[in-house]
Assembly symmetry: C2
Homo-oligomer: 443 residues x 2
């Protein structure tokens, strides 16, 4: 079978639900779903309406099991350690709120560039119940060794019960040395929770069964073509007893507060093998339709796209050209966020800095120091770039303005040329308007 | 405008997605959604795919606000105290897991007939973190006074921080004297959490602003025609600061651990008025499509059905005839679950006992005493009744077998005649097979 060419023609054929006038350079935030998979979702929804009693009592469970099995076969991860949740934030919440914490003693570690909603989850546990936490400050660019030594500085005190870290952070979009971090957690007797929000569909997940971290969650709607919103939660088998669904539902099993020992008898093993399935397949009346499209998403990626290697090969080639094109558009002083080991950039995401003139110095200082002010300006800019059909997210990190670009199989090089130009012009327009509206001393 | 006649013709016109051969007598478990509302949901989903960045950043918030406002106008409850969650179990979890419990002191009260998933939530908090709880045993039929005095016996000790109780229980489907229970909780300084899973669309919710309980949650997909799954969470304004979304997300505000005082300044009031909205409108990438169909569901109920009074009037008339018909089909000894004050039965739900012959005495004793055995038999029976397109849920309560019937605007009296007959025949078939398969002494 000859692989169809990726790019705009591919988009016109397979992403027909997308506004054709949009230059889509922010696949990373919400994902973009091929039409055939949304059609499958509609089919499942109609099946649900056909006889809701039958669907919820008998059909969902087997369909759920099949999705887990398809995914297991595709990503090479043991199906018994897999459950489905709504999104990675829900995955993180499921874990953090399933641990029988000793609030007066337990401490959690995470890094400053972790996802806001996940940091908030730990802050909530701290402010409401007294869970303690500590933060590893990460200011990029950083080499993997630097990241690791910053974590080790904390972890080597052996006082952390859990360490949460990203596989690929959101903003800045950078890869962390997650395999080494798993081993480091194991060395220092700390549970590892990997936030792989951007992982599935960008990097291989085969390391899970090999390295056996404690927990990992990854969105399937971002980079694996599943409809919004669906995520995988990987749970190390030693925690199957402890972990509980969010919300707690019908299948909560009351004897599972303490982590289960390794299975000893055949019966126990059978029980253990089905434990995650039994808890997670039904968590009350929900719209399960997006969960039940995983097989179709995998079929699309295998049959239409030619598999993960084909997808990544296209992304990598396009990314190289896109980086040059954006740097050229952004002009002098703009650089790719990368380290010496070239380990920060993932196939689908890269960040380029944008250096504005001295005229904006005071304004940018205020934006860097006042996050609420930045949020206000970000909304203004987002609204205008969306009107111009070329929204791209931006942020300040380590005192620089960075713009995050996504690379997908429907993109072509001209998206980056035009998108970067519209973004830069719009940002300057918004900043100029802001400067004009205020006396300088207010900035 | 002349109101269209309810019944089978109405079903053929407005519930076209439902398998026409199904005798639908279990609307109560999952809800049944009119076609026009599912069509609206598809429209919203397509809008989401058209430009996901724009939809999630700008459109969802205003659409969410409009749904809350429509619902507020329709049910006469202050919009500022309303938030949307996935289902009532999620609503209960949101509350139970947002309270900064003092685990070594706090105690919760609920009743034995509460919904299993909600009881599990409290048991989880007990087993994982040490929250204490106590249970009011309810064995129906009971007069409201009896229910109230059972609660007062416990509550008058003033040792409970929160009391969770149903408005209309699931199985048995009976109404509780929830208004009096709210007042009783207030008298004894206990927070009230109403599980109104079956309330919206069956009973008026106007009491919320008048009696001001602490928390109430009610599914909108069961009896208010909204697609699966969507529920209202009512939060008394004094708890807007404390309550947090499930999962914790972007809009968690860290200064809200302690319940906020009454607003004192204009700024504070404005803040307070938008606080629930600000927290709940966005909890990460989700399928929001069902939430955004509330206005359409209300339009259907107003314009097509003629409003809540018309719906209830049809339900009540049909229910009277249905009760007689089922009792006749079930035969001698079968009764309606009702008390002397006639306060147990809600417009859409009633329970009829089914008395089987002495032949089944030992089998039924085992079913009553061994819940796992009952679950096994229930599945066998459910599968067969669903194959015969006439599933109705049944359960043992207070040593009797009860069957729960729903009454909806698409039902007619013959549904109950045929449905009851198929149910009874199937149950006996399953029980006979079970008796035949086992030596008597094993039962």
């Amino acid at each position: 079978m000859v692989q169809e060419a990726f790019g705009h023609e591919f988009r016109r054929k397979h992403f027909t639900l997308l506004d054709p006038s949009v230059i889509l350079l922010n696949h990373g935030s919400f994902g973009t779903t091929p039409t055939c998979i949304i059609e499958k979702q509609n089919e499942v929804s109609l099946r649900h309406e056909w006889y809701p009693d039958y669907f919820e009592t008998f059909e969902v469970e087997e369909l759920y099991r099949k999705q887990i099995q398809s995914l297991s076969d595709y990503i090479n991860v043991d199906a018994r350690n897999m459950a489905l949740v709504t999104n990675a934030t829900t995955g993180v919440n499921t874990v953090i709120r399933s641990i029988p914490w000793n609030f007066s003693e337990d401490k959690v570690l995470f890094h400053s560039t972790a996802y806001e909603a996940c940091k908030n989850t730990i802050k909530f546990m701290a402010e409401y119940f007294g869970l303690q936490y500590d933060v590893v400050e990460l200011n990029y660019p950083l080499d993997d060794d630097e990241v690791l030594s910053k974590f080790e500085e904390k972890l080597s005190n052996k006082k952390y019960r859990l360490c949460m870290f990203d596989m690929i952070s959101s903003m800045p979009a950078v890869m962390l040395p997650y395999k080494d971090l798993i081993k480091m957690c194991q060395k220092y007797d700390t549970m590892s929770l990997l936030d792989g929000a951007h992982a599935a569909g960008q990097v291989s997940l085969q390391f899970l069964d090999e390295l056996q971290p404690d927990f990992m969650t990854t969105n399937l709607h971002k980079w694996l073509s599943v409809p919004k919103a669906c995520a995988l939660l990987y749970v190390n088998k030693k925690h199957h007893g402890m972990i509980q669904t969010l919300p707690i539902s019908w299948n909560y099993s009351s004897d599972s507060c303490q982590p289960r020992a390794q299975p000893k008898t055949v019966e126990d093993r059978t029980h253990n093998d089905n434990l995650l399935h039994n808890k997670f397949w039904f968590i009350g009346t929900c719209n399960y339709s997006q969960y039940l499209c995983i097989s179709e998403a995998i079929r699309f990626r295998k049959e239409v796209c030619g598999g993960e290697d084909c997808i990544r090969s296209y992304q990598e080639k396009l990314q190289k050209k896109a980086i040059s094109a954006v740097i050229k558009e952004f002009g002098p002083g703009s650089v790719l966020l990368q380290n010496e080991g070239n380990s920060l950039v993932s196939p689908g995401l890269f960040n380029i800095s944008l250096r504005l003139g001295d005229k904006y110095k005071q304004l940018e200082e205020k934006l860097i120091n006042d996050f609420n002010y930045f949020k206000k300006m970000r909304v203004l800019c987002a609204r205008l770039t969306m009107e111009r059909k070329a929204y791209i997210p931006f942020f300040y990190h380590n005192e620089k303005l960075w713009v995050r670009f996504s690379v997908q199989i429907f993109n072509e090089i001209e998206d980056y040329v035009i998108g970067a130009r519209i973004f830069k012009d719009t940002l300057i327009e918004v900043y100029d308007r802001e400067l004009a509206s205020q006396p300088t001393q207010e900035l």
